[in-house]
Subunit: 181 residues, 6 copies
């Protein structure tokens, strides 16, 4: 049997892009639970400087990373949660509507922690893997500056981003305040 119907914990992130810190966190959570709900935040947002990739692309990155790092795809329930612009008080409710039931939330993000705690969830921290290195912000910065970012992500994720010209996308987004704002 591939998964149990007990309540899996929720792990939420934006995965812009998927990196080794995410894999580290997912493995940590799967070492404590039978399965995991992975909620991809800002699911409808993409092609922005800080949100370059679509939900479909991030889903593909997760699958590639799982394959490479031996995470059992069958234990991972992946969902997407869109932003609720300006009405953030609706956000926890939105997560609840987009996910199977859960009771535990893994997050290090202060405001996410606060919102879920106020709503009665048990919130647990995630042991960081060198946070200043393994973060989407750092990876996007390195891509923009032409520095080496390949060690921060799984090999297959790196190859995938190259194959969809993700580097060029991020750079052209950084120079495009004109049309979209």
């Amino acid at each position: 049997m591939r998964f149990r119907m007990g309540k899996a914990p929720l792990y939420i992130g934006r995965f812009q892009p998927v990196h080794n810190g995410h894999i580290h966190a997912i493995k940590h959570i799967l070492s404590k639970h039978d399965s995991i709900i992975i909620a991809i935040g800002s699911s409808l947002t993409s092609h922005e400087k800080d949100n370059p990739f679509t939900f479909g692309e991030r889903l593909q990155m997760l699958r590639l990373a799982f394959e490479e790092t031996g995470i059992d795809f069958g234990k991972c329930i992946i969902t997407g949660v869109p932003d609720v612009p300006s009405m953030h008080f609706l956000w926890v409710k939105m997560v609840e509507a987009m996910s199977p039931p859960f009771e535990i939330v893994y997050t290090n993000q202060p405001f996410t922690k606060r919102l879920f705690a106020e709503a009665g969830y048990e919130v647990r921290p995630i042991p960081y893997l060198e946070r200043e290195k393994y973060s989407g912000i750092e990876i996007r910065r390195r891509i923009l500056c032409g520095e080496d970012w390949s060690p921060l992500v799984p090999v297959k994720v790196f190859e995938y981003i190259m194959s969809i010209q993700g580097v060029e996308r991020i750079r052209s987004l950084a120079s495009s305040d004109e049309v979209f704002k």
Copy 2:
């Protein structure tokens, strides 16, 4: 290895609720392909007469149905696609953004077929399992009329809908033109 990175076909539906016709279709597609992308349409819509269940609930139903009917969860990539109200010309693009890459679309719905064909996809029909019986419309009708709908869905889906008081929800929605319209 759980799944291949080749392009899986797309199968799209609203799953309000998951029923035996869906399971039949998924098994048919998995008999021809290694994996399947299941796109849950109208993903942000729920608590409407014709769309009673949330994305999270439909996701849970799929998992329960897979467990009961022996479909390998690891072969199924599930995603959600929201409606784009009135701007339907954006819809195929929306599906593309929410999904890993695909080339084949399985659908019997005329307008879906048309939109994807126009966008250059190969569209294939799905052999129906007694369509007049196994359809969301028929199940919601039986629930409203108090007829027996249990044979139309997997046992675990039936039990789950009962446990979340889905029958009461559908009935109260049918009598609520006042507040929501």
Copy 3:
């Protein structure tokens, strides 16, 4: 002192238009509580066949009706709650965000009752005042058919609706499927 900071009960309606049934309900609730929160639903919607009046107009009608019927305006906390199209699971949360805290909800509407009960509120029924007569649907029907609707609303509300040409508005809305749909 005009009001107490204890939790007032919530009474929700669309008030299209304000009629004697609403006044009856508000008096009933004020006979049991020191104050009342009146939530005007579909607050951003107007100029539709079933939602002809703006929030501002409905607010004005309430004030005029209170003045005429001796309801203490200072005991009434009025707020507006917009619809959350298709995402009805967010609606109770929306009401909570738009209102001072409350614990009791007065409503006869089945789905509203259900949503608030599921969210843990005490829901109480309102004794109807000849519901088939005192309802927005009946009043709008009489206006369309040219029947006498003046006995169903407070005199000042009738005069106000006449002064803003509300009858003409409702009739022209009924014949305008062309432009807006």
Copy 4:
């Protein structure tokens, strides 16, 4: 000199599709004024049963019709006005924002007439060209029923609709209550 900067009158319609009644109206208005502002309503809506064509397609139909019927394209200022769902009180303001300044509005539609009159515009009727025949509703009905609709539209508009498979689109839309609603 191609046009004058005096205020042209506004003519508003949905043009689903452009037909001989529209051409008749535009010629009538141009017989009284030097130029005309043509506002295409529901500009962002398409691929719906009653709104099958995009703004771009309707713009193309207008150009083709002008070419065929000898209307001077240089005298026609064409703009698009999106719907403002449920907030119809904003609509006149929206038209004003999307158009050069105008003082006269040509329309036969009761609610449009009312809204512009209330906003202080001079509203003038348009002499109909056999309204029961020359209307978008009738043309879409004929297309659905397989009746001859070619005499109701300019030849080039007919050819254009055929070339973009407009007939198939309207028919598949009519049978697609499932996915989009």
Copy 5:
């Protein structure tokens, strides 16, 4: 009789949070008029760094402040006006739709002044109460920096914000660029 049906003046603000400057302004206006329409701007926005509180919370603050400072709640007509993102030309119309009729607008904000003046309203300035101190910006800054902000708001507003953990909310919002953006 609690209020008159004459046209009350409009006073608009965001009230994030309610402070002594607002009370000063409301008292000033009520010294010149029998009643006042208080429009709470950005009514649907909350849980943002610069808009921390919900409409319901701001409404509650106003009531508490009125009770403390002796302002007659019955003379105050409170309404909420949502933002119209990017389409600011619709905003005055939105205010009109959300409010009883008014002719005078009290504001010191340059762009608000301009929009209402262009729409034909009489715009009057409000005598400031030490603006650099009594402003939402200053209060939120002090909260973030851990400085004493209690002298800037009514005592009951201070207590209420503490009771709903408003300080913690503002601080966690300031450190949460990750999830919401």
Copy 6:
């Protein structure tokens, strides 16, 4: 005959406001093609610091500029394209829906270039007319700083902006972070 039904090239900009650089570009394109599709971006946005003018005002500026500079209005197909907030992957599709068919896109903007190239269009650069001078950013900066901006725009555009008090609008927008944000 005023225009040909061949596919005109697309030229996209925001025209905030129309300036001599735009006229230069349009003349360049019309020297190579019989007609031009001018797409006004962010069409629904106005009254923002960087997007001060409505679509209607920008349309009027284009007409005035064409009249002054001898561009044949009949050769110019003007359309508007709204933003698709955060879902930029839908934007090319949106342009396609709002425009007659085109194959060539003229743009110097890196991200626009990228999006259209990825979608299979031929993208061509536009020879700049002293870009650091003839740009909307520079003109809005000069207006804010009280420097002379009249040489950068056609005379009639200058007069039109003065007549609608555009300078005052831009300045009041720059000082209005309070209400709208």
